[in-house]
Structures are given as C-alpha cells and as structure tokens.
C-alpha cells in the first residue's frame, strides 16, 4: 500500500515537472503577450496542482497536507485574478493582440 502511494506520488511529481516545463517552453514559443498568458496558465494550474498533490501523498494525513491544501487553494484563487488584472492592464495600455478572428461585439470595453 505504501509503495503504491509512493509510486502515485512520484508519478504526480514527475507530471507536475513535465507540465511546468511545457508551460515554460510555451512562454518562450508563443508569438505575442496574450498567447503567452495561456502558456503561463498551464504551469499555474496543471504544474502546480500535480506537484502539490504529489507532495500531499508524501506527507499523508498531517498538518503538512493541510498547509499544502491551503497553498493550492490560495494559488488557484489568486493566479486567475493576477492574470486577469495583467491582461486588462495590457489591453488598456494599447497592447494589440495578434488575432486570427475577432468576434467582439463591442469594439473595446472602456476603462
């Protein structure tokens, strides 16, 4: 049983590392600021969640796991808020997204 949990935790940790590196590659590869944000949200969701889940399995049912849960909840709430604030600020500042399709009904949402 312990070996099984250990194995699951290694898989989760490795998965988290792989996803965060993929996100890092995306941040370098993507063509403009707005598309880079999507790559960033990979490392912020999959990378973070898998890695913390792996650590949770290592810690078992202790206060450490409770702290890990709290870190995860906090990051899940703050990371979209920060991303949204960043995107909105960039759009207001006149950073133009490179778009293939633009289906916005109103030209721009006023500040």
């Amino acid at each position: 049983m312990t070996a099984l949990i250990d194995m699951a935790s290694w898989v989760l940790l490795a998965g988290g590392a792989v996803f965060s590196v993929i996100g890092g590659i995306g941040i370098l590869r993507m063509p403009d600021f707005y598309t880079r944000m999507h790559a960033a949200s990979i490392t912020d969701t999959a990378g973070m969640a898998l890695m913390l889940a792996g650590l949770m399995l290592q810690a078992g049912l202790t206060l450490v796991t409770a702290k890990l849960v709290f870190i995860m909840v906090f990051l899940i709430i703050t990371s979209p808020t920060a991303t949204h604030a960043l995107a909105r600020a960039a759009l207001h500042d006149g950073v133009r997204p490179q778009l293939d399709h633009d289906r916005r009904r109103h030209t721009e949402i006023e500040p």
Binding site: L13, I27, Q58, K67, A82
Partner: protein, 95 residues
C-alpha cells in the same frame, strides 16, 4: 525523485527568466515575474520535502501572498502612476 521535480521547476524558472529578459513589452516581464513567483513557491515547497523540513511550506505560503500583492501593486502603479489616491479623490475615504 524530489530532485527530479526540483530540477523541472528550476528549468522552468530558467525559461521564464529568459522571457523576462527578452521582454519585449513591460507586460511580458510582469507576467514572467508573477510566474517566477509561483514557481518559487513550488521550489521552496519541494525543497522543504527534499531536506526533510516541511516547515518550509510556511515560507512558500508567505511568498505566495507577497507575490500576488506585489504583482497587483506593480500593475496598479503602471496604470495609475500611484499606489494610493489620486489628487481628486484624496479626501474621500477608501472603504
């Protein structure tokens, strides 16, 4: 295995740092900065487990708080050029 995870995070941090240096716009750099912060939280947490000292998680938690506040503060400063009130609404209360 903790080592493999930590290497993965470190490589990601390196890639993010390259983006922060390349830019080109200030917003790319802020995005990279914010991501670098969340990766630091992961780095510190895994490092705590690697060293057998899970108390490091408290540092990670505080770092997450500071990182979020810092990002919002920088954005607010960029948008308004000020962290507090502007002249017009100086006498109005904040809440």
């Amino acid at each position: 295995m903790f080592l493999a995870a930590i290497i993965g995070v470190a490589v990601t941090m390196l890639l993010i740092l390259i983006r922060a240096l390349l830019g080109p716009s200030a917003y790319d750099r802020i995005l990279a900065l914010n991501l670098f912060g969340t990766k630091t939280v992961l780095f510190v947490s895994v490092l705590g487990f690697l060293n057998g000292r899970p108390e490091f998680l408290d540092l990670g938690l505080v770092y997450a708080l500071i990182n979020f506040t810092g990002t919002i503060a920088v954005l607010k400063f960029m948008q308004y050029g000020d962290l507090g009130w502007d002249e017009a609404s100086k006498d109005k209360p904040d809440v």
